[in-house]
Homo-oligomer: 435 residues x 2
Amino acid sequence: MKTVTVAIVGFGTVGSGVARILLESGETVAARAGVRLKLKYVCDTELARDRGVKVPAELLTNDLDRVLADPEVTVVCELVGGTTTAYDVVERCLRAGKDVVTANKALLAERGEPLVKLARELGKAICFEAAVAGGLPLILAVRDGLVANRITGLTGILNGTSNYILTSMTKQGTSYKKALAEAQAKGYAEADPTLDVSGGDSAHKLTVLARLAFDVPARFEDVHCEGIQKIEAADVRYAAELNYTIKLLAIGRRGADGGVSLRVHPAFVPRSNPLAHVDGPFNAVMVRGDETGDTLYYGAGAGQRPTASAVVADLVDVALGRAEITFAARDIFSIAGKGTVQSIDDVPSRYYLRFDVVDQPGVLSRITGVLGAHHISIASVLQHEPVEATSVPLMIMTHLAVERDMRVALKEFAGLDVVHNRPVCIRVLDEERSR
Amino acid sequence: MKTVTVAIVGFGTVGSGVARILLESGETVAARAGVRLKLKYVCDTELARDRGVKVPAELLTNDLDRVLADPEVTVVCELVGGTTTAYDVVERCLRAGKDVVTANKALLAERGEPLVKLARELGKAICFEAAVAGGLPLILAVRDGLVANRITGLTGILNGTSNYILTSMTKQGTSYKKALAEAQAKGYAEADPTLDVSGGDSAHKLTVLARLAFDVPARFEDVHCEGIQKIEAADVRYAAELNYTIKLLAIGRRGADGGVSLRVHPAFVPRSNPLAHVDGPFNAVMVRGDETGDTLYYGAGAGQRPTASAVVADLVDVALGRAEITFAARDIFSIAGKGTVQSIDDVPSRYYLRFDVVDQPGVLSRITGVLGAHHISIASVLQHEPVEATSVPLMIMTHLAVERDMRVALKEFAGLDVVHNRPVCIRVLDEERSR
């Protein structure tokens, strides 16, 4: 059996997970994989801290140059994280003639293009299964399994932290603040949860997926991004009443004209859609292909073991010699992609609107008048008994409307004296059915 | 761009789907795949019938020898079906030096071993993504995506016809007979539906999956197989009342001792399990790995376009040169697999039992007495008001019990004068939770 020598750079959560699999299950993985992965280096600037895995001292090094200079090492796992040091590590590994496996979605989304270009020039591969949806082999499915398809849509729950928080809010009726605190206490959210709850992490992943699926050289900045921080318990409750669940979705769509729209935002998901039932820290992605129709992938999107599993799968692909073939033959990062990303202004969506209105005659007519003036037609209306004497909650679900029109309408609502506060506006996932 | 020349043998539903993709979308698939697939032959004994795809006359042939003798053809799609002619076609293709792509689960499950052995001896590949769960890239996920995992469980809905029928029974409360007739009218069931409704088709697929996932040289006969023909409307209704849905499941489990159990049978699936919500003609498979935990794959498991999509994905894998690498390095069909398949007698399961009992005192005690005597403990009991004066439905859900014990208990029930008819006995999917 062939043996391929591997180095890990970045001895954090994922790095120690990969080290554990290679050191503790090396022989069983080799028996399945048909190739042996020999771990020769674990490289980090800090090596003293206990990571819960026993790595022989002679494997540990803080000297990246030593790793790069060793011709026996043909593949390096970049598990440093971030977009600065990690960039340098990947660049140097490629220039030293090594293939790279990475779990770094931020790096790929923000600075991936020059690295992938360089890898292709040098005949090397950059594998990134672990960068999107952790333990789910989603990159593999979209890249190889669905290769005969023109992908027209991606709809996913790509951030476990946000989904955990929204699930708590839905099941327990708690506020965002309480649910976040609970998620932090249980280790599902970091002390600074910004990247997760703002949608940034989902947008990183969507950027990478879009390049793979849509033949579009998408940049991170092209993704319209809204987080879950402003979701209120009341809206979670009204969603349930209307037979929806609020989820943070990453959505990519290929329009009829070939333009691609990319967005991350909270959305009302109809209960009839399987994504509405993805609870807790899990990920799920619905991929629409013109031949297969909808396929759905569900599982643990993060965590040490699922992510390490994806890194090792990529290592096997490299070690068998398949990854370089794929990378050389195919433009999987859309370096030469011709698609363009649409502005959010032009994207049609359905909307949920919640108003706090004055309890007096004529209010509904004034509000619906504004919508009508901007070509936004109403699908349903829900009005509840007054919460306070002076304030009535009024919920409106619209049919498809273009973002630009909705923005103008929202501005006009602000000028109406019958509406308290700014209305809440959350998009609704449109149920375009599979053929 | 490299060009690889392809032949299709078997111009049926799937064959014409593959021909359509290669002829009508050839260039767009090539742009994605990084390799061009040139269709040179469509071979069948009957060529006159219109298949809804325009195949140039010079491609059509009824002469397999011509295809085999053409050195330009390096890969052949076996889409003949069945286990006799198809066997000969695959054998002859391999001996003629061609890789093979097949959608034929029956062939693989019943006679796959000698063919895979031959392919390995000759350095050729047999690819079979399309044989299991059609448009879902399930083989790819289990083979490559989860390669770092020891797979401990597979639980799937692998037959769209049966699932369509059970869904109709559940949603409309109809009988099996009516639901089958409706499925036939809509084209979801064949005139002779036996292979689908008996569980045979699911068992074929489970055999193939088990070889891939469990390192066990499973034979079709090793799969304990029961169909859905005896499911009654009453049991579908009681399942709903108890918060379950009846599904035809294919289940593979690796026991603590390494033994593997393989079975296909109807089962009560708890509503909390995503498989309970897979409706209509769709497939879904839950795969449990020791690193990833549970991952779920959902989509169209059959049909011309999804299945053709899977065949083309395999053609790309062959054309890029990856399939031969995988096939040579890895024993993906467990030819040398050391696992053994357990007898169903030793498999533990939960059970749903429905009795028609006499309406008199002491009945429940006599029935539960039999269960107790055979170490079968009761999880819950549901008794309804009498349907007829002399007959009362009594439902018992058990805890885990071994099949052998349940069989003996069922025999003893037959001897009780307080029980009318044979009790209905349906297994319950145990909710072993992901770690």
